[in-house]
Symmetry: C2
Subunit: 491 residues, 2 copies
Amino acid sequence: MAKVLTSRKENYAQWYNDLVIKAGLAENSAVRGCMVIKPYGYAIWEKMQAELDRMFKETGHENAYFPLFIPKSFFSKEADHVEGFAKECAVVTHYRLKNKEDGQGVEVDPAAKLEEELIVRPTSETIIWNTYKNWIQSYRDLPILVNQWANVVRWEMRTRLFLRTAEFLWQEGHTAHATRKEAEEETRQMIDIYADFAQNYMALPVIQGHKSEGERFAGALDTLAIEALMQDGKALQAGTSHFLGQNFAKAFDVTFTDKTGKLDHVWATSWGVSTRLMGALIMGHSDDNGLVLPPKLAPHQVVIVPIYKNDDQYDTVCQKGEEIRKALLKKGISVKFDKRDTQKPGWKFAEYELKGVPVRLALGMRDIENGTIEVARRDTMKKEIMPVEGLPEKISALLDDIQEGIYKKALKFRDENIHYVDTWDEFVDTLENKAGFIMAHWDGTAETEERIQNETKASIRVIPFDSKQEEGKCIFTGKPSKQRVLFARAY
Amino acid sequence: MAKVLTSRKENYAQWYNDLVIKAGLAENSAVRGCMVIKPYGYAIWEKMQAELDRMFKETGHENAYFPLFIPKSFFSKEADHVEGFAKECAVVTHYRLKNKEDGQGVEVDPAAKLEEELIVRPTSETIIWNTYKNWIQSYRDLPILVNQWANVVRWEMRTRLFLRTAEFLWQEGHTAHATRKEAEEETRQMIDIYADFAQNYMALPVIQGHKSEGERFAGALDTLAIEALMQDGKALQAGTSHFLGQNFAKAFDVTFTDKTGKLDHVWATSWGVSTRLMGALIMGHSDDNGLVLPPKLAPHQVVIVPIYKNDDQYDTVCQKGEEIRKALLKKGISVKFDKRDTQKPGWKFAEYELKGVPVRLALGMRDIENGTIEVARRDTMKKEIMPVEGLPEKISALLDDIQEGIYKKALKFRDENIHYVDTWDEFVDTLENKAGFIMAHWDGTAETEERIQNETKASIRVIPFDSKQEEGKCIFTGKPSKQRVLFARAY
Ligand SMILES: [Zn+2]
Ligand SMILES: [Zn+2]
């Protein structure tokens, strides 16, 4: 069968785009930079949402919803924040269209100009802290642990499906606390939750750490991030959690009286993951045949394909297939039984390979005679014949094995591609010839960071939490350094 | 205890607004016409979403996501559609802000003007049918059964929380079919699902029927609706399902080849419910003490309040309360155990009355001695002492009883407020002195409908599916009519 995807070796970026389109995950829309998330892609996103939402709620967070629009003046209230987002804002200036005088279509009605322009939210700190002002008077009103699932817009000139789009879907947590310590603990708790989700659901190992000052969120005192390694050796930031200090509370004058009656500004965090995670999931595991999905996030964990030569065989095979479907379902396994008579088995095999269904079952007349079924796993492409007796337990165990196998494979790849380098030459050579993560010493200045980035396009991804304290010299300036930081070229 | 709400008799509109604010459901934001949905309100919406989403999926629908923005030119492609929505569109004209030269804040960057303005979606038919054009070639690509959960914006001058807001949350189904018949069946299936949801989850009886031509969705050949009666005698449209014919397929040139090889335009439906349902839920059941929530949509079905005089008692009561909480949880009942030591039981009782928690349990020392607990139901405000032994089964049955009781009460009220009138004087008198639904004859013309509305502010809500065929005379013109239609003043 002809390959439907460009291979990764040939052109990694093209392979990614082919895969997103051909597996039916997403496509570009008529609106520049905005994507359509297709049903199969959205079903994966829904699985992600469900798990994350559960994790947020188990740690005491509640969902709420804040306006899509932010008054322009709110933006200016936190200086770093406006600096960070002003250049990529979609701006609403009018609230009405009218018929053109020549009768050819509609035009913006100049009489319906807004007094103050509205920004389509690129993130919601400002509108939310303006709201929190009315919710918080006393320490008894704290903490506020709120999350929002929403769409946001950041105007982008060069876009890529899921990885960088003008509109994207995300969740943004916004919490308010009485003490610095509690806010810092929340910031850390949430990046830990993201790491847990990445590793145990997406099957993607990640490195957690602090962003350097230059890479912090606009308005944050500290940004924590998780970084995953893609198969082409580039890093992908998969989630961030920000300690905002009292910056937004000061900008919006949000104060509270503590237990002793003293007035203070409230401490804040915000944290988010987006549909960008879809890009990480796709690039983390997939191969030249298509998607490879971890069973915990696959819309269908198992697909059953009937094999038959005539109507009688079709009926027999479908009856048995239906029994098997129900038995798997009862075991909590999500199953699709593709009984369509309009497509051949070979076409279906290729289709489900492309779509990354973790386990494919094929059932024909000989299987029925023998009480067996053919079981193919997507990750290793290995096939075996199993007895139908006891199948649900075996498939359940197989799904666990696939989930673990995918993770271990990604972990091995990641670990083989962390390079410890000590000189500038090594650094440049590694970037050019090996790619991957680089652990190297840095003198801690924004200036050096910027110069390294300008020369190599590699940036500091994180200062890892577990980077051990050691004496070293900055690879670029030779100045003293106390720990290695993680460099990479990144998405 | 002082009443926190204006009474319904005194001022129904004020009662509604008080209730939404004081029960913590929603509030107005700094952006005109846009609301903040607070955690408790959002939790109810999430329950609604979960049930509706399940119903959609059980009938073969999948979720997807389409862009927030619609190019202005798309709007003009379906003539009725643009006519219907052009006057309430938020328009994005620029994609960047810049610092003001005086350093005081930011302004729209005139250099970043869009070539074509973008409309913030008021509904997504146009962008979706422009997308479907690429998805559909053959009958094998049909039907497409897609739903989207999203925010939409319709600029409104006079807004009311949940009932009419510039931005609101909703779901919009958009389906594509090979035949007229299949599309019409889908249109009907979805209004039936909405009616099922309203009656069996929201506990609100509804009347289903066709909208008159004048009240149809902009671009539809037929609009089906469900109408509920609020306690003040006004109607509320709680969901609509539109048969769009081939209008959007023609506007966006979406054709398919049928089984015989013939080319035809695709048939379409769209259907939606929104956060307006929150308004219906609140106004349908609540009383002067606060919300009354049907157990199936209540974030907490049961709240446990401990009664104690000192620390020892607190520990004893909390231990028993915890046992009871776990037992109820095991039975699938959602329980909140309010152990807070910062609020008195009386305050908590009032709070959960206001928030409409269906069942309140109060547990004190005497109860523990007697092996009993006080059970209060929110709908009837009746209290009784029950043995703790076998409590989960009894509470489970009680919740069913409350769900049914709330529905029956609303049904009785609705049925008592359907008036059959045969003359204009009766019609006017009923509207002024009784309110409610009016079943009356109408001559079937848009002109008469409009004149009746201008004179009385009552509109035709629906032509009910089950309105029996009978000879009659239009209450306004005296012209012949074959069936009664449903009139009311409406939200
Ligand atoms: Zn830090
Ligand atoms: Zn009809």
